[in-house]
Amino acid sequence: MNNDLVLRAATKWLSPVIILFALYVQFHGDYSPGGGFQAGVIFSSAILLYALTYGMQAALQLIPEWVLRLGASLGVLLYAGVGVVAMLKGGNFLNYSVLAEEPVAGQHIGIIIIELGVGLTVASVMVLLFFTFARRVAPE
């Protein structure tokens, strides 16, 4: 597929749009349908599209595997970290209300960070899964 001009051009145009949409779903998760999980999957689909058109080598150059592993772990840490910060501030685990002066603001901050963690982990793991399987077949 590397030489197909139409695909290459279309991917170049589509990928940023997909990523933008992923970010929209991510950060509007607390107002509208969406959230970290969906955003992570959409984000990873952009990378998958890139890997399919430009090949595994290019995709691995774009995002090396160690970055993905780091992302997957950091996402979980972010999630658990918010919970622990809430505990340190005197609330129960994952009680966002204590994160800011005002409970409502705290809830907003809390859920956005949590969803960011979820999004990071889901996106990394999805791409990692794809890479793991794609490498098995060794595409030429």
């Binding site: 592993r69 658990a80 129960n92 685990f93 994952l94 209300s97």
Partner: protein, 497 residues
């Protein structure tokens, strides 16, 4: 006691696992795991001491009130299970260091420990939560990490064992989820206490009965109750030794615990007594004891033998549950603990044999016991406990189980226990005979990596862990107060007496 301690049991492994996965150094990964398990163990002991007299500790996650939010409600039973899980995790992590280095590739060791911690997290979560959906989530966390752990076994067969467990485990978890969904549709709640309290208002719905059947089937699959046990022997015998130790002692026990919760806390006892469930469970338990013991006796490979013996021991727990009186239930709960200690010790012994002779095939291990007298002695102690010799933990449970069976006039159970014990003598003797009384056999050169007969020395960590296990078998066989008090309090709270 500060109730924030309870959530730390889940939070500590949750934070430590991703950090462990980031390290490349196997020693650091091991040290973190040991630290995490020990911390969880200490916390469990603190919580246990707090609730042993029948008190509750309640923790509302995220500050949301139940029944809307997730609630952790810790009583003696929760704390007892958490204690078993974290205690065995500590022993297995002491044991794991040399064993894991021997069996698993260096580059995957940190990931192995991360998965181990996630498994610990899931099992502890199941033990703590008072919310049925949350229970499902933790069940999946522990199961998914278990599949990964089993697949890291030394032989390629581990992959098929892990895969068939993956399929069956997922079916089990899905059944449980369907049950939870039905119950949610009927009751509009996921909180155990809330569902139980308002049970009368929706008890007439057919959906509620279907939900119970789905949930019990799902959990029975995860707990390897007799006809649904087929994944267990392969999974336990192919997994890396440290994983066999940890899983055989905790995974099925925690599922049995979930069964107690569903049957006694979620549903009124009378409801499933009318469905003839005690009779069904009782017969399955009896068949499991005889079938499991018989199959164990047939095996020629030590880890498989022990795995089939687990099927039989799970039968005893189910019998204790199905007898539906205080002694039976106490015996069942105590057996969770006793069997965890016994089976962990025996699997540690099998792991040491695998480490030193590179095989667990009883035929190839002939005379091996004379080369490792101390480890062998520890294994014999655990073996005697498995049979139920007085002075060991196994005796205590069998005694209460017999007492309870005679009390209720279930003579078939009495006969089953006697036959089960005789068969247990048979399969434990099989191990002792080939390890100690048979003439030694030179181990095939190709079976040992160094080219020597066998590895000359048992690593100190493995020996220490083995002897801790054997020591506990004797200690809790002679001092029954702690485990008996905890089990009695737990049984009384389940029976609402």
């Amino acid at each position: 006691m500060n109730e924030q301690l309870t959530i730390l049991l889940v939070v500590i492994p949750l934070i430590a696992a991703p950090i462990t996965a980031l390290f490349k150094n196997k020693d650091i990964a091991w040290a973190i795991t040991l630290l995490v398990s020990t911390a969880c163990f200490v916390l469990s002991v603190i919580i246990m001491l707090d609730v042993i007299d029948g008190k509750h500790v309640i923790y509302e996650l995220g500050g949301w009130r139940p029944p809307w939010g997730i609630e952790y409600k810790i009583d003696a039973l929760n704390a007892f299970i958490a204690l078993i899980v974290s205690g065995i995790a500590t022993i297995s992590s002491i044991y794991a260091k040399s064993s894991v280095e021997h069996e698993i590739d260096d580059s995957t060791i940190p990931l192995f420990y991360a998965a181990f911690q996630l498994c610990l997290l899931g099992l502890l979560g199941i033990a703590l939560t008072g919310d049925v959906f949350n229970l499902f989530v933790f069940l999946e966390i522990s199961s998914l990490s278990t599949y990964a752990l089993i697949s890291m076994g030394k032989h390629r067969k581990a992959l098929t064992a892990a895969f068939s467990y993956l399929i069956l485990g997922t079916v089990g978890a899905t059944f449980f989820l369907i049950g939870v969904g039905f119950l949610f549709a009927a009751s509009g709640s996921l909180n155990t206490a809330d569902i139980a309290q308002r049970f009368e208002t929706f008890a007439h719905m057919q959906l509620v009965e279907t939900a119970l059947i789905f949930m019990v089937l799902g959990i029975a699959l995860k707990a390897a109750v007799f006809p649904l046990h087929s994944w267990l022997p392969n999974a336990y015998s192919q997994a890396p030794s440290a994983v066999s130790v940890f899983l055989s002692a905790t995974a099925t026990k925690v599922s049995i615990y979930a069964l107690y919760r569903v049957l006694f806390d979620l549903y009124p006892v009378q409801y499933w007594v009318d469905m003839l469930m005690p009779q069904i469970l009782l017969s399955l338990g009896c068949v499991a004891v005889i079938y499991g013991s018989y199959r164990a006796w047939q095996q020629v490979e030590m880890k498989r033998l022990l795995a089939f013996s687990s099927v039989a021991q799970i039968g005893y727990m189910i019998i204790g549950l199905a007898l539906l009186n205080q002694n039976g239930l106490t015996a069942s709960i105590m057996h969770l603990f006793n069997h965890a200690v016994i089976k962990a010790t025996l699997f540690m012994g099998a792991g040491i044999l695998l480490y030193r002779a590179n095989t667990t095939d009883l035929g190839s291990l002939r005379g091996m016991g004379r080369d490792i007298p101390w480890s062998f002695a520890a294994m014999v102690i655990a073996g005697l406990s498995l049979i139920g010799v007085p002075g060991t933990v196994g005796f205590i449970t069998k005694w209460y189980l017999l007492e309870s069976a005679i009390e209720t006039g279930q003579w078939i159970v009495v006969v089953t226990i006697v036959i089960g014990s005789v068969l247990a003598i048979g399969y434990v003797w099989k191990i002792v005979e080939s390890l100690y009384f048979r003439s030694s056999r030179k181990v095939h050169i190709h079976a040992v990596e160094s080219g020597d007969d066998s590895v000359g020395k048992t690593p100190i960590g493995m020996a220490v862990a083995l002897w801790i296990g054997a020591g506990l078998c004797i200690f809790f066989g002679l001092n029954t107060d702690l485990s008996f008090d905890a089990a009695t309090t737990a049984a009384l709270s389940l029976l609402k007496q």
